[in-house]
Amino acid sequence: MPAWLRRHSGLVPYLFLLPGGLWLIVFFVIPLITTASVSLQEGTLATGFRLTFNFGIFPEAIARWDDQLIRSLQYGLIVTVLAMLIGYPMAYTIAFRGGRYKNILLLLVIMPFFTSFIIRTISWKFILADQGFFLGTLKDIGIVDQGFRLLATPVAVISGITYNFLPFVVLPLYVALERIDPKLIEAATDLYASRFQAFLRVTLPLSISGVFAASLLSFIPAVGDYLNAELLGSRNETMIGNVIQRLFLVNRDYPEAAALSLILMVGILVSIFLYVRLLRGQELTV
């Protein structure tokens, strides 16, 4: 390291932060400020928009779209829990039993995403079709009755979102689990802990930073998702993302769309804050 840098070693973190931080500031913060300003404007495309500091739009928007906001938070939570239930054992297996094939397995988890989302959804709609080979067979046998359907239900939407965010959960969990020294587990079992107890008291706490990261990476985007609800759901599964999409593109009601986006972000941040307090006392990421 050059001598001048060694002398100013306090600068090092700032140097590391600079490129990424600057990128985010220019290409995220500035547009975000624009969004905040837009939410406080009033007007239409033809007559122009004026900044009127219309703070009233926030309670209005919440009142109008409370169902969808709540539903989105609910779905986000369910998706996160499901993804965790499915993803944790997977990450555990890859990290501890993967051996040579660890990286391959990770790649396998990610690979479905190299195909287009539309194609995957079309395929899922084919698989879950009312009379498709899966449901059709069940109906023929008589396990479910003819009116039953999976598509255009909350089940389909939640499954779709979970499917989409599974890698987001598996990867951070894997990262956290992989660095746990198996000797620690061995030590626990040597000290007469059962396998399960060893897991509960050694592995799980050590992986908590991964759990934290994974839950954030699935909850946050899941709440704002709209494609799954649009393609797999019916009107009753409308999420706040769909509303924002429609307000923005179809109604061209930019202020309300911007306001709802900010409300969504605040809702998410509050949820995260509560979550952090829940995990207080655990070692999260530094």
Partner: protein
């Protein structure tokens, strides 16, 4: 690395064998579940469609494989565009994000809280807002829209995902190893290169994978910042109005197969590497 047991497999009681099979079986099932739509997609690449839609099975044909890249030049170009964007944005975002991760976990500095917020917020913002406001930024700065603006946008949203993924790995890193290396005479850069980096590499790789997948599949933000350029998801979405041609299925399948081949090669190379240099760390 396997279940701590001293009996050879043959002699372990059935219950124990079954129990330790649960996890791998579960993983196998999940992978199968992940791949199910891919399988359907691959199969429909052989569908002998009569009209323009590819929803019901009509018959088997190899025509679409035969006429894969000649048929829709716009589709090919869109795929190339997507790959270029994904590769560049992944490399840049992973680098920038890892740097931030290193700074966050290993150094003291002021502004930690705001920085954390800055990293979370892009993930929490609806894509449509990110896209539209970014578009306005580009327009007001008179930046022409195209591949560069798409790359800029992708790097922006990828940085956050990289940081969150990489941090867990860097945080748990034992500084004692670095200190040991330096005690043995290595300078900071060599220590980083030979000790730190290899150990945090799994986290970086995982983050890179995530970023790549996010970029390849991104739709909304790309739509706003692409101008006239068309990426793969954009083309497919537009085509689905008239009918997604089976070539799209074939391409998806091909990408898959290529990735599979790449993985197999990697395994083979790794084995060779390990037998040649038994001191390589296998974690």
């Amino acid at each position: 690395m396997a279940a701590p047991t001293s009996l050879p497999d043959r002699r372990r009681p059935i219950g124990s064998r079954l129990r330790s099979a649960i996890l791998p079986v579960f993983t196998g099932l999940v992978v199968a579940y992940l791949f199910l739509p891919i399988l359907v997609m691959a199969v429909f690449g052989f569908n002998d469609i009569q009209g323009r839609f590819n929803f019901t099975w009509q018959g088997f044909t190899l025509d679409h494989w035969a006429n894969l890249f000649g048929r829709y030049p716009a589709l090919n170009q869109s795929l190339i565009n997507s790959l270029i964007v994904a590769v560049i944005s992944t490399l840049v975002a992973t680098t920038l994000g890892t740097l931030i991760g290193l700074a966050l976990t290993r150094y003291e500095f002021r502004g930690r809280g705001p920085l954390n917020l800055l990293i979370f917020l892009p993930i929490a913002t609806p894509e449509i807002v990110l896209g539209a406001s970014l578009l306005a930024l580009f327009v007001s700065a008179a930046v022409p829209l195209g591949l560069p603006t798409i790359v800029i946008a992708h790097i922006m949203f990828n940085i956050s995902f990289v940081v969150v993924t990489v941090r867990a790995r860097i945080a748990g890193f034992d500084r004692a190893l670095e200190e040991a290396a330096m005690d043995l005479g290595a300078d900071e850069w060599t220590t980083f290169r030979k000790v730190t980096f290899p150990l945090i590499f799994p986290g970086i790789m995982a983050a890179g994978l995530l970023a790549f997948a996010l970029s390849i599949d991104d739709f909304v933000i790309t739509q706003f910042t692409a101008g006239q350029t068309v990426t793969f998801p954009l083309w497919v979405y537009g085509a689905s109005r008239i009918g997604v041609p089976p070539q799209v299925n074939v391409m998806g399948t091909l990408i898959f197969l290529i990735a599979m081949v790449g993985i197999v090669l990697w395994v083979v190379l790794q084995r060779r590497d390990m037998t040649a240099r038994p001191t390589t760390m296998d974690r």
